[in-house]
């Protein structure tokens, strides 16, 4: 039996997609990445509920408070089934840096489903309930605080809404443009192709990050947070479509020679309709992989813009602008926990890459798959 036959569906009724998913399921790294991403996105979706505090809920007396420890044993050594925290207060050391101490006289047990500040779950369900919290005046800052005394965990959770969604929104915009341009370019060929491809090259020729900065400069200052978000999407899509358009064009060049395209023309379909209905769907298995592999680029791009202060603005959080504080070496030296958003960027980016690799292997029919 040849390799080709081996990858054919064994029984009738199994589509290529089902086959690919079956192969994906064997890819351990990709599947664990999928779980990780699923978890991250779930948290982002319910950010308002899961984050213990609001993203701008600040307590100046807890500036750069280190991650708080959850205790199970009190001073007397008694075990408590419900973890608790102590209230933190500070003194100064000889360099006038704050040193936090715990007041071990009063326990503040961590409670579930507490009433916190008002928020709208997923943007439209008004509620006050939050997953975790402690009674005032104590705070539970599991990952510590930033210099304004805001809960880093909450800000990371709120920031994930921006950082994780921008990839999908950006990809949606740039892939729509890229596929259309690539499809038209490859399908019509000739002069159209020439003009469109030279345009792509012009975009690709400029180093991405500088183009991003230049485009940012073209937008007026003082935009609202939604406008900033859309602006970032626009900027990154402007850079991102060109590379895809070139690959799609190459694929379309070969697909348009297929007889079903002639058959579609013979049944009276127009060119644009053929491109969208017949040609582009045949590139989808590539596009799905490319989407997965290019989302990290958007996450990193947003982070880079926000990091240098031209992206998402305070007090709104994104993983990138949370790292702005970590640009000072002294900050990292004394408050290393403010690097944690970087860890999350790393995890999300790696997870997307592993998932993309897994998808590529799964969708590639040329790879004979073992074990069956």
């Amino acid at each position: 039996m040849t390799r080709r036959e081996k990858t054919r569906p064994a029984q009738a009724g199994i589509t290529q997609t089902q086959l690919a998913l079956r192969r994906l399921r064997r890819h351990k790294l990709a599947i664990s990445s999928l779980w990780v991403l699923g978890f991250l996105y779930l948290v982002a979706l319910f950010a308002d509920f899961i984050a213990p505090y609001g993203f701008d809920d600040e307590r100046r007396d807890l500036s750069y408070c280190p991650p708080m420890r959850l205790h199970f044993f009190d001073e007397a050594g008694t075990f408590h089934i419900r973890p608790f925290v102590y209230q933190y207060s500070y003194t100064f050391d000889e360099y006038f840096n704050r040193v936090y101490v715990q007041d071990r006289s009063v326990r503040f047990p961590v409670k579930a489903f507490v009433q916190g500040t008002e928020h709208r779950l997923m943007g439209f369900i008004p509620m006050k309930m939050r997953l975790l919290g402690v009674d005032e005046p104590a705070r539970v800052y599991l990952l510590g605080a930033d210099y304004r005394g805001r809960d880093l965990l909450s800000r990371i959770i709120y920031g994930s809404r921006v950082s994780l969604s921008i990839g999908f929104v950006g990809v949606a915009v740039s892939f729509t443009v890229g596929m259309l341009v690539g499809g038209i370019s490859g399908f019509f060929g000739g002069r159209t192709d020439n003009v469109l491809m030279r345009m792509c090259e012009m975009v690709m020729m400029i180093p991405g990050f500088y183009l991003m900065l230049a485009l940012r400069a073209a937008f007026p200052p003082g935009l609202s947070s939604v406008e900033v978000y859309l602006m970032i999407v626009l900027i990154m899509s402007f850079i991102g479509w060109a590379g895809l358009a070139r690959v799609i064009r190459g694929m379309v060049l070969s697909i348009r020679e297929k007889e079903f395209v002639t058959a579609a023309r013979a049944s009276g379909e127009g060119s644009l309709r053929i491109i969208i209905r017949h040609v582009l769907p045949n590139t989808l298995s590539y596009v799905i992989v490319a989407v997965t592999l290019s989302i990290p680029g958007y996450i990193l791009g947003e982070s880079a813009l926000s990091l240098i202060g031209v992206g998402i603005q305070e007090p709104y959080a994104s993983w990138g602008n949370l790292l702005t504080e970590a640009m000072k070496i002294s900050a990292i030296q004394f408050h290393p926990w403010i690097l944690i958003p970087g860890l999350l960027i790393f995890i999300a980016v790696m997870a997307f890459n592993f998932l993309g690799d897994g998808l590529r292997d799964a969708f590639d029919p040329k790879l004979a798959f073992e074990g069956e």
């Binding site: 007889e259 058959a263 049944s267």
Partner: protein, 320 residues
């Protein structure tokens, strides 16, 4: 005979950097209402390009219809606007292709594709289109059409795919069906079934058919008239009955000679010596002369015209 399609002096050339390939070079024929014309010839003689020219589907560039008229129901298809042409394609003239394997889009179910073709030309709802599609699939002899509707091309056998293609072709009740070697990619038993199906549909819908093939057996079985093509030209054009009873052109005779005959014992089949000429460099004079066993000096000098040697029997040879 009432004429449905009248092709006159069609010339389709392909231009490359330095050469001009005259794939179709002055072809004229007529397809009568309800009749079947067979276009027969070797590979590369311009049969398929003729068919594509009728639908204006010759890839351009490099191809171009240089000259000629294609008169379909009184209007010249070469002169109407592309948008108007689109409503002719699939609606008035449909085409069935040679390769059923590649003529269906692999990423959509066959039912979806046929239903889309229907919805393209008729104002019907999705569910009506689906009903019509299932009827069509049943009509072309696909078993359990309800189930097949939702299957992808790769789940169907070659014969089934060709049936699906035919279903798509007849979905809008075209007046003319162009079948470009519809059975070449299929095995013999399936070939017979598909030809029977085509004949049945032709009679049922009173469709005219342009059948392109290199198989003289198919021609004998299916057609009313035949045009024998060679090197971009029609060499002999007659009713099927006349052509089979009384072939005149040396090329036609050669084609018949290369067929195995029932009850005859032979070591080798007869072949026509030589090769089909390169469409960019046709021999001067009669294009068949280098391979012709009746060749004389005159054959090399001037192009030979198609002439009527008896009523409705045209031959491009001065010697007969």
């Amino acid at each position: 005979m009432e004429v449905l399609l009248n092709v006159r002096d069609l010339k389709t050339y392909f231009y490359s950097d330095s050469k001009v390939a005259r794939a179709v070079d002055g072809v004229s024929f007529q397809v009568g209402k309800g009749r079947t014309l067979g276009l027969v010839g070797e590979s590369g003689c311009g049969k398929s390009v003729t068919a594509l020219s009728i639908l204006r589907l010759v890839p351009s560039p490099p191809g171009k219809i240089v000259e000629g008229e294609i008169i379909f129901e009184g209007r010249d298809l070469l002169k109407i606007a592309e948008s108007e042409m689109r409503s002719v394609r699939g609606n008035d003239i449909a085409m069935v292709f040679q390769e059923p394997m590649t003529s269906l889009n692999p990423v959509f179910t066959i039912g979806y594709q046929i239903a889309e073709a229907i919805r393209l030309h008729q104002r019907v709802s999705r569910s009506d289109a689906r009903e019509q599609t299932v009827d069509l699939l049943r009509k072309v002899g696909i078993p359990s059409p309800d189930q097949r509707y939702n299957e992808y091309p790769h789940q169907l056998s070659g014969g089934m795919k060709q049936r699906a293609m035919i279903a798509m072709g007849i979905s809008c009740h075209p007046k003319l069906l162009i079948a470009d070697e519809p059975t070449t990619a299929l095995d013999v038993t399936i070939q017979a079934q598909i030809l029977d199906l085509l004949a049945e549909l032709r009679d049922e819908f009173k469709m005219s058919t342009l059948l392109i093939t290199h198989d003289l057996g198919v021609i004998a079985e299916m057609t009313d008239d035949v045009a024998v093509m060679y090197a971009g030209q029609i060499m002999e054009y007659a009713t099927t009955r006349t052509l089979f009873a009384n072939p005149k052109h040396p090329y036609t005779i050669g084609l018949f000679g290369s067929l195995p005959k029932m009850g005859e014992k032979r070591e080798h089949l007869e072949a026509i010596e030589g090769f089909v000429p390169d469409p960019a460099h046709y021999p001067a004079g009669c294009r068949f002369h280098p391979r012709c066993n009746l060749m004389e000096e005159k054959c090399r000098q001037a192009p030979i015209e198609l002439r009527e040697i008896e009523p409705d029997h045209f031959v491009r040879c001065w010697k007969v």
